[in-house]
Subunit: 375 residues, 4 copies
């Protein structure tokens, strides 16, 4: 079958690879109908990870079940399903606690597995015609048959739950004010989730006009950080700060063109939120980053304003989303017409166009901010 | 009346000062029966803050109500009461949310007030014969009449609730494992609170044998960090780490004699807790510390292992204790004989002995780890 | 001054009464600008309580501060404020826990006080020119100056927070399905709150077309219980029941004209919600009701389907709303234009028209479902 | 193999039955080392359910894994394991939410399955030599090898987690007061769990001196309801009531010898807990009970003091325990020596003695209150 394969820094190709097969009685094979390209794929694409050539990319997957193992109970051939980007077993202590992003079974020696991602276990990605899904009863979310809401449902594998997770980490509750740093697809899904949960006011910080425009379209207040300190702009528009804040940027934060400051968003958040506020971090931070701008940053050590953090009595939750904790509820909001996360999708392309899509996405070209591949 | 007055670095004196009086209808005046010296008083005593001479020390206060303002409803003359170290109004939005350590009323321009502490508002301390208590209905916790449990109740103003708060921040729940860094009075109260809440196993990290002995006495597992990496010692005794961890040390953490490493405890905690774990920080961190060992640390900026923090999906809560959220429940545990926090009290002394007590406490002399003054 | 005074069953009059004055240093006097008539006023009006003639009605009050006591800190003359219908002290253990509807101070021997309500303490109502507000720092919610959002803010004293409280009791969370029994003003505020919190689907059960129409207008699914069993209608439209359910009706539930069945809504809810679901009860039930249809019901004892309740593992929370826990957040949603609860207001009338308004409201006449008096 | 088989009312026999075998790839077969008799077995034994002859009893099971299906991942032959009494799939929406007592997969058409229990699915009981365990990765809790703590671990299948669940439903938190109705094994485990969680005071209500003695032994306050109204006795010993209350009795509550009053415990609890308190119900209530004392009770309808319930703003959670939510943590408390629930075990007997054990247990004979069978 055809699949998007990593060949090295800034190089992916659509190649023939072996079709997956049922390896365990609890597996299913899914024929992929939609698989989106994620901003976190660019970390590998740009060579900013230790990924080796040969990885099949793709962790934002949905499709139709083609084959089921003998130990699968609730999923049938022909079912339309969405798979969380995190592979999880459902029975380890982290999964039991709802922390399916930190499964102790699927990636031994580590906490958490994913499809098509370096360091996240042996699971091939879904930017391909077929995908093997382990522990299928746990990892498949059934969807209504047909092709309605296809692009909305395609957001259920990662970015809609990730945005929602950010609002959980930040403990957003109705009537509160929230600051979201980053207006990329995850930042927008975060702001959108905050609105869905009843936030009174959502600020979205970025510098790219198109992104800020999308934020305004969903009812958020856009803050352009090139026009002055974001914490100060937000303090002026609130009573000295927001109740909560969210980092949807991560370690590759840039202030000016090409100048990375990996701690700038975290410290801006510490300045932005009110005393007793909560910060949620879904932007990625890595323990090892060979391309970092300083020796400490290369090992994931960042200068954090701990004095202010403590004085304000802040809380900070972090980590990749436990998609399974939210995807059913978010699916139901889509089905009932209460959520349409596909507004972030900028383009649908056949699998063959993946190399061009990656290149243009990496160049931040307009129209390539969120591409869904249709194998 | 007599009071303990700060005269300058390493210098306190017992001097005559004006007696407090009812200034607002909601005030009461309390005759102090017990006022303990706190480790955080040493930050001022050592000149590691911007405290000016003249401050009356003492934020761990209890006593008998001597006089009540005309707007006081529930407190009567003769009542025996404990006062949280934090002064709070009870009606601002932070107080309403239970965050009485971050009251927006009592120390305008800041969040949080306290008796006898630099930067915490105009409230005189209780290492004195009398104390003015504002918003008395809110700030006085009634105690049973008489003098039973006096030393236990003396712990209700600060360190018992602070230890308990640490376990709240760290979300300690029954059957879990906890690592507490620091076996001073607050660390011991933290370990004790974790046991009270049903933790399966509590590790307490320190280097001073007497402190570690007290930790063992209450059923905790002492870890001497001079015998090897504390995170590794704990990892070996658990399944790779604890569920939660607590910083009861703060920015003046020392590894060897006199060598401060302000971030060492935070980074050890990031290494100690399991993925998805929670960290509670009650050890003090300051935005400005002129005596810090580096330029960044002078401004409260510390090198934190954010890469590991995010990879593990950790949470971290921080800040001074909201005493009012816990002191009634902890009082009831004392009354029912289920808690006896006075085991940390090392000495009772008359007010006159305060200067010697401060000096010996600051020298970490045996028997001076927790002194209660009896005016 | 003029005030609406209860004269006996089905009889209120606008009479001259003494103006209130500051009695305690913590009081303020408010000049009322809006005071709404509440469905619970009808319980007294109809003689279904032990209310004695002479009570000044009105617990949904807002206005301008006219005078402040000497012990008031945060409220100034001229401030525009909303008062929760529950009078509360802010410092008893129930208030501290956020349960301000069950204050132990303001109505000694009972739990909870209110303005202008039988059995809720000595507090006069606000369907009058002026109102005395005790513990004013705690009981006044500041509003923006001017007269913008007047009718929206008028809903902050009771029914908007009561509706929101229902969704808290029922633990409504995003993506869930909810059944609300009763489409009166409180039921509509409940459905509206559930939508604000991100419910996927909200069913509203009633029999009056106008009410069901309003429910549909805010995006809920109207269920007419005269067209068949409400639990069955809802079961068909869901996967066998809703996640949560809310009783916004109470003990005066009628199935046919004039036929009261005090337990019918509770048992319908037990049938409606899914196993492990949660029920919130804000509709009133009373320990003594002389007008009840059976001897047991006269003493508040109702036949409840406990067998089904237990088998399904249900939870049920109940009681009057703790308005103070929500009114600031709901105010902010109004200010930001994210909530406009005034859509339930059917009429604004001068104080003089109160007698007619009560009569027509009690007759369920169109246009009198939610009247705001403007003294 | 030999197994305890239900033959009809008041009649069980030890008979030869077919050995279980792996039916699904996700099954394991466990050789039973301990299987306890439960009070809920008596409901069937006494003919108070619709159980048909032929049922193999036993839902409190532990043992050694004898055989594993091909789809089992984490469990190996030779592992010592405890099985929750509830059979659960781990992937339905109720299991995902932690409500494993209400699994939607294992007992189609119903919510919740169990071993050896009428109406709980086709799963044979473990009062036998071997047991088939479906969804074994999810349903087996690994225990340390050997035979240490065997009787303590035998309590992990049901009554220790059930007692703990009661304290969760009742939201018991440190420093609170709790009333537990019923001092049978489940009531004692409830009181014991409340102590473990840090309750300040636990009252246990019963009339049997031996049971009340055991309650006193673990630090609870025994209340003999034959000496006067239990709610009044408790009100006198507290400030008017407890913070929480628990029903560990259920529908077969008796006041005098043989006189059942199915609602008496629920109404006593409504009288016992303070306003804003929470009630947890783990004592069984059934939608159909042919042996009930009234027509309404036969259909699970009980007269409940709803008026008081609402006036006090109470909450009530109910239902069988979600064992999987607690058994790992409780296991760890046993391993660390912090909990020894085996204090309730009154006798260990070979499987052959089951008929006599059932008869004597049903007669409430001393020494038969909690029997563990050792096949």
């Amino acid at each position: 079958m055809k699949a998007v394969v990593y060949e090295g820094p800034n190089d992916v190709a659509v190649k023939q690879v072996d079709e997956p097969r049922v390896e365990q009685p609890t597996d299913v094979i899914v024929r992929i109908t939609s698989s989106a390209i994620c901003g976190s794929d660019l970390h590998m694409y740009e060579g900013r990870t230790v990924a080796e050539p040969g990885i099949v990319f793709g962790h934002e997957n949905m499709g139709i079940v083609e084959q089921t193992g003998s130990g699968v109970t609730s999923i049938r051939e022909g079912d339309r399903v969405s798979m969380p980007f995190n592979v999880a077993c459902g029975f380890c202590r982290n999964c039991l606690a709802g922390n399916t992003g930190f499964c102790l079974t699927v990636n031994p020696g580590s906490a958490g597995g994913a499809y098509g991602y370096v360091g996240m276990g042996p699971y091939k990605g879904g930017q391909a015609e077929y995908l093997r899904v382990p522990f299928a009863d746990f990892n498949c979310l059934p969807l209504p048959p047909g092709d309605e809401h296809e692009d909305d449902f395609a957001m259920l594998a990662d970015i809609f739950p990730t945005g929602y997770h950010a609002t959980e980490l930040a403990e957003v509750s109705p009537g509160e004010t929230v600051a979201v740093y980053g207006a990329g697809p995850v930042g927008l899904m975060t702001a959108y989730s905050a609105m869905l949960r009843g936030a009174a006011q959502v600020f979205v910080v970025d510098k790219i006009p198109e992104r800020l425009g999308l934020a305004a379209d969903i009812g958020a207040v856009p803050i352009d950080f090139t026009e002055g300190s974001a914490p100060e702009q937000i303090a002026e528009r609130t009573d000295g700060g927001t109740d909560n804040g969210i980092d949807a940027v991560g370690y590759q934060a840039t202030v000016a063109e090409g100048e990375e400051q990996p701690a700038v968003v975290l410290n801006d958040l510490i300045a932005t939120v009110r005393p007793t506020g909560t910060i949620g971090v879904v932007g990625l931070y890595l323990p090892e980053d060979p391309g970092a701008p300083s020796e400490d940053a290369k090992h994931g050590r960042l200068l954090i304003d701990m004095g202010s953090y403590f004085e304000k009595g802040l809380r900070m939750g972090s980590g990749q989303a436990n998609v399974k904790a939210y995807n059913r509820q978010l699916r139901d909001l889509i089905i009932e017409g209460r959520a349409t996360p596909s507004f972030v999708v900028s383009k649908r392309l056949p699998l063959e166009d993946a190399p061009e899509a990656y290149e243009r996405f990496d160049n931040r070209e307009r129209g390539y901010s969120k591409v869904v591949l249709k194998p």
